[in-house]
Subunit: 107 residues, 2 copies
């Protein structure tokens, strides 16, 4: 490994810096995911109140279209963004089913 | 549907508001994902410069542990957070392989 000139970080320091940035982004990422579930849990309660089904094909297809549009705008792979949102929405729908079944049991 | 008292939003307006919040979170989510790929692409270049392999099992297992810790801290399903990060990292590793192969071709 070459000696540093005192200004540029060594490659291993630079790699450690980049990984700290990734860790910090992942922290924000998971907090944002928690924020999203706070909202979708409210949606689940409201849909149960209104007797709406847990799954909404129109809404989900809009989200998939939006995932692909946002991917294109942000220079990301559309299939990746769609798959990530799909994974999240599958859990949301499962939660909404639980909320709906708890509601019908308590009726 | 009941008449509103003029203060509380109607259920359908409330649902529309919640969905706007979800859309806004998804915008931030995809921008954050783009930010993450900006950093991982730098990592890919640096690893190729240093002749490091595209995949790093130790680092990946640290990220999975962190995903599960952050999930617990944020009241989220650990398998969900782990699956989302796994999907992202699979794409990162695929990109790092491309960067490494381009580098070795240009040597």
């Amino acid at each position: 490994m070459e000696r540093n000139d005192g200004n540029a970080p060594s490659p291993s320091d630079y790699l450690a810096d980049l990984r700290r940035s990734i860790d910090e982004i992942d922290d924000r990422f998971v907090k944002l995911l928690a924020e999203r579930f706070d909202v979708t849990r409210e949606v689940g309660q409201l849909k149960a109140d209104l007797g709406m089904p847990p799954i909404d094909a129109t809404r989900e297809s809009q989200i998939d279209e939006k995932a692909r549009r946002l991917a294109a705008e942000n220079n990301l792979d559309a299939d990746l963004v769609s798959a990530v949102l799909r994974t999240i929405i599958d859990t949301v729908v499962a939660e909404h089913r639980v909320i709906a079944s708890e509601r019908s049991e308590s009726d």
